[in-house]
Symmetry: D2
């Protein structure tokens, strides 16, 4: 279960950062849908490191290969397996870290739990694991677009460290992709970029937040009690590497308001029931209400830095770790944008299928 996400649209990811391949099985993709592998590749390219001077120089083609589930580009209803070969396996790059627990990495906890450390160079804890998620989301997106005409998901970097973008605007994915920072607000891009470059020069790292909007989600997705839509979104986002916080709607800021300031009044707009405001973030009682679903995810500054750090070796010896230059991002945020979108897509796809069965099996009685 640990490597599986979803109930009806289930994905299982596999692969270590330095093994033979990483990938995903999608179990539960409906049959008869056109799945364009070019679009899957575009998603992987968005996630891939080395896209700009802001990101890690690790140069991998990350070419997707489909092993099963599609014939002539059409989904068969059987498991779709997508893999990406690992090409850039510099195991020795990390070899001098073999016996050192890097601070705020997973080295120590993995070692206690599995008896396994460095050879896998981050192993399943590496952001490379998210390739499988992103590939699966690229499939889900194509199915959702076919089923839901106005559906789209857009995420963007809305804060880097203490530089906050204006979050009152809506953006298209094209606007977000126009700048390697994936922050579409022109007024803050330069300052954000300088902050990241300065951190990189200093051998340091920065974090920030990503905002995500789901447009065109139908009313009724989400299963009370435990599988509330926001609960599954929270799990999805908090399962991403380096994420430390999640909020939906006004989130933590909602706690600063009185109820009379926070409640969303209902209105009848041309025969459709809408809310006048959307402080709830598109979900009420755990179920989507047809408004835009809005959420924010916090990503800590990445743990890999290029400064001396105090730590211990595997056998408990104190040590000052002096890392050599390596391939890591000073700021994970731009690459985390497609990961956040991916998890949102996977959640919605799964809940859409879950809802569909019960919607079509409903009896005639109302109460």
């Amino acid at each position: 279960m640990a490597n599986t996400f979803g109930h009806s649209f289930r994905i299982s990811t596999f692969g270590e950062s330095h093994g033979g391949a990483v990938g995903v099985i999608i179990d539960g993709c409906p049959a008869g849908h056109k799945i364009d592998l070019e679009r899957v590749q575009q998603w992987l390219d968005r996630r891939r490191p080395g896209q700009s001077h802001l990101a890690s120089p690790r140069a991998e083609a990350d070419q997707v290969e489909c092993l099963s589930g599609l014939v002539q580009g059409i989904s068969l209803g059987t498991p779709i397996t997508l893999i990406v070969r690992n090409q850039d396996m510099k195991q020795d790059h990390y070899s001098d870290l073999q016996d050192v627990y890097r601070p705020s990495h997973a080295d120590y906890t993995y070692d206690v739990k599995y008896g396994v450390k460095a050879p896998s160079g981050g192993g399943r804890a590496s952001a490379r694991e998210t390739i499988g998620r992103v590939a699966a989301a690229a499939v889900a997106e194509q199915v959702l677009e076919a089923l839901l005409p106005d559906f789209s998901v857009v995420a963007w970097v809305d804060r880097v460290k203490d530089i906050q973008a204006d979050t009152s605007k809506a953006y298209t994915r094209a606007e977000v992709e126009a700048h390697p920072l994936r922050c579409p607000e022109l007024s803050v891009q330069d300052r954000m970029e300088k902050l990241i470059i300065d951190a990189k020069k200093a051998g340091d790292s920065v974090g920030g937040t990503i905002f995500c909007s789901v447009y065109g989600c139908p009313v009724g997705l989400g299963e009370p009690v435990f599988d509330k839509l926001e609960a599954d979104l929270a799990k999805a986002m908090m399962s991403l590497p380096a994420s430390k916080g999640f909020e939906v709607g006004m989130g933590f800021a909602s706690t600063q308001l009185f109820g009379s300031q926070h409640n969303d009044a209902f209105q009848n707009i041309d025969g459709r029931i809408r809310t006048a405001t959307n402080r709830s973030g598109g979900i009420q009682g755990g179920i989507s209400n047809g408004e835009t679903i809005e959420m924010r995810v916090a990503f800590k500054p990445v743990a890999t830095i290029f400064k001396d750090q105090e730590t211990v070796t595997r056998d408990g010896q104190a040590l000052t770790m002096k890392p050599k230059a390596g391939r890591h991002d000073p700021c994970v945020l731009p690459r985390a944008v497609p990961m956040v979108e991916a998890m949102a897509l996977l959640c919605v796809m799964d809940h859409y299928l879950r809802q569909l069965a019960f919607q079509h099996a409903r009896g005639p009685h109302k109460i």
Copy 2:
């Protein structure tokens, strides 16, 4: 699945706020443990409304009854069923709301999804559903205490609206329970209390945040990739009614730091590997690292207020809702404290059992 939480220690809750009973089945409680129903009752009493002038006057005994799974107070290893009868069913209390969608309640989304509205008076969306969770947690706590000597979970109200307690201190549950607010910091209790009472007088509501610490959690709990410990905690907390945000460790505040400020250095303290700081909040790479697990949950101001509100009826007619006095808390936070503790206990219990199998099945080889 929607009403079930956990993989190895699985709870399934049931019951509407105004049906015959609410309760829980616990599937996966290990056999041979002494389970004191008095302690279960104490947990239910903590959760129960009407405990002080700060909370809802709904007066229910909430007496727990065990239908299965225990003989002579010992767990059989079979499903433990705990129920609480609903005694205070004033269905007519809500009857004039039958056809009105209350703002920021689940009325509208439940109606679209299930074709069901008011008769169940909140139904599964009511906080009364959490009785089952709290009862199950009271069982889990007793099992965990038997298995893990230094284990405990303590939550408290650390902010009401804009009144923030000092979060640098650790508290015992007794200290938290000493005041009906469940904020153990003496210096802010009066101001918090006044804020809530003023809101109540104004027919309004307030929200805030709850901080939760898990002490004595062993190293190694949490299953990468999707079932990371913080991901399951996030889901658990975000499945609570009125929760809008979750963070672990430094959470959103971590994004304001450089990596060099955030990383937790490892130390060898008397042969045990510890971190010098605990900014990670006791979890690294999705796995507990033996430090105190720390998290915070945001609860919005409750939707039920006693002011005029604009809304629509079930058939789409605009309407100004003028609620009469009813039984609702102006601030859900004090009662949410045991709910947050409950979800933390259920998560840890579940991951402890999951970990146990793999720990004892591990082979002799290390890498």
Copy 3:
């Protein structure tokens, strides 16, 4: 999971034979269906012991009570909880067996696994556990009848020990219920009855087989690869107490034929594709093909007999067990008929919901 069955229509049963109550939670019942508790009661009455001179004299009312999930007899879409109080708790009846492992009972294995023996008088291994299954099936049947016009499930005793009924005929449930043996074939009823009564007089027990037909099942239920319809039916039936074998279609007899004798030719009958014969038993490739689903379940002679038996005590002492008269059936078959029907209903209900989502999410392309 151990006490839960189903993926989309999930039931969780609970309760020991001599605890406070037995029952079931149904999670996933679609909303808006009329559920008649009288029909649930009728199912429980069919399952109940003491209905005739052929069965156990245990006299319990087995009155069903609904704790949640229904309002005014309509399903809310929330968990439906049905319980039956245990009224006839003669714990001392078994008290002299406290420390004896009864041959071919679950006493020994439960004791090793759970450290628990006799006080629960059969505990979860008792046929009394099936009350929850039967109650859930009575709900499923009402939903399936509302959704599928020609749907029905009928099981009957087709062999007692070596007395075989003619299985070439189809029967209605009314025909089956007309005789307490639940074997509708008049020509063998007297001999079967005499065999059972003679076994009872001799303090012995007999087994046999039950045949079950599912009529009106739509084409397309069943999920390859592991959740084939016949695989889930096999699991369902083999989870019943005392069942030792399962077969679908011609089952074991199919192995005596050449492929050319066994294959079912397809035909176009008035625009509907049918098979000329039904040796496959209504399932091909794990998926229902629209023909009648046919299966058979073998039940061993029940382990409780009234003869001296060699065994050991809990501490390993050899002992000749001399049981007093007690309340047990010499033949479980008549009461197992509704249990077999129940498991078939639960399987079909679950797979119907599973299928529904993917059917409605299918894309336009065919291959």
Copy 4:
């Protein structure tokens, strides 16, 4: 879920018979075990067609490749992905069957369910899907052997059509593998072989039964109520292509006995509690009792025959199908032997892990 088996040791298979690859992800393999890929290859070689004149001539290398989960042959505790490339993709071989529903194949039901037919040449319904199961079982076997010293699983062909081997003897896997029929009883091998060759010459097929013994299984595996060990074994076996029946212990034959003839008396043999006979087949109350687990699986005569058959086309036209020579076994039994062993291994591995957690979390009290 459809393509996933197991709760704690979960395998997910993927791949169509004529797609890019088939394979499996194993999620839940304990860390630190030596996994020899040569042994995995040996299992695949046993399953592979074309091993003798009795089987299909399809000539594929079926070379296993490991994509993840192992480093230096040691399990990491992360998902182990094993794939086999499809090399012999003669899609045109079947192309004239594109629009014909082959009798007793999955063509019709897959087409209704998925809108997909012939291009995948059997697709997921092909026995080629079992490559993933067999590869996973080869991993499970190595882990179980490391954890349980006396553990082994052996299956063999015990009947071909009406030629029955003596089932009173126990065999080693080496004895079974000594003859391509995988029936170790010398006295019937020649007759069985002649029967199969004659059927092949006649363009026909035959079925039969496979007997399987699990030696050295510890007491306590199996989870009442629904996940009884025999219930999960039944599901496992009935999920194999062409299986039509399952029985455990004496199975259907048990129904011919009186209870006094069937019960297994307990004995204390050198301080270990054993049964004098093993009519229960090693499982009582759904839980293993430490005796040899014994079961039998029925396989129908395979549907592919080389005789004229009546059927219909995809658009409902009647047609006499005149198949050309192709690559199919006249008797699936010899190749099904490792498949049956594989499913038994996967069940035991899964239940062993499930049991381990609860065994180590058990409290001190007994009842």
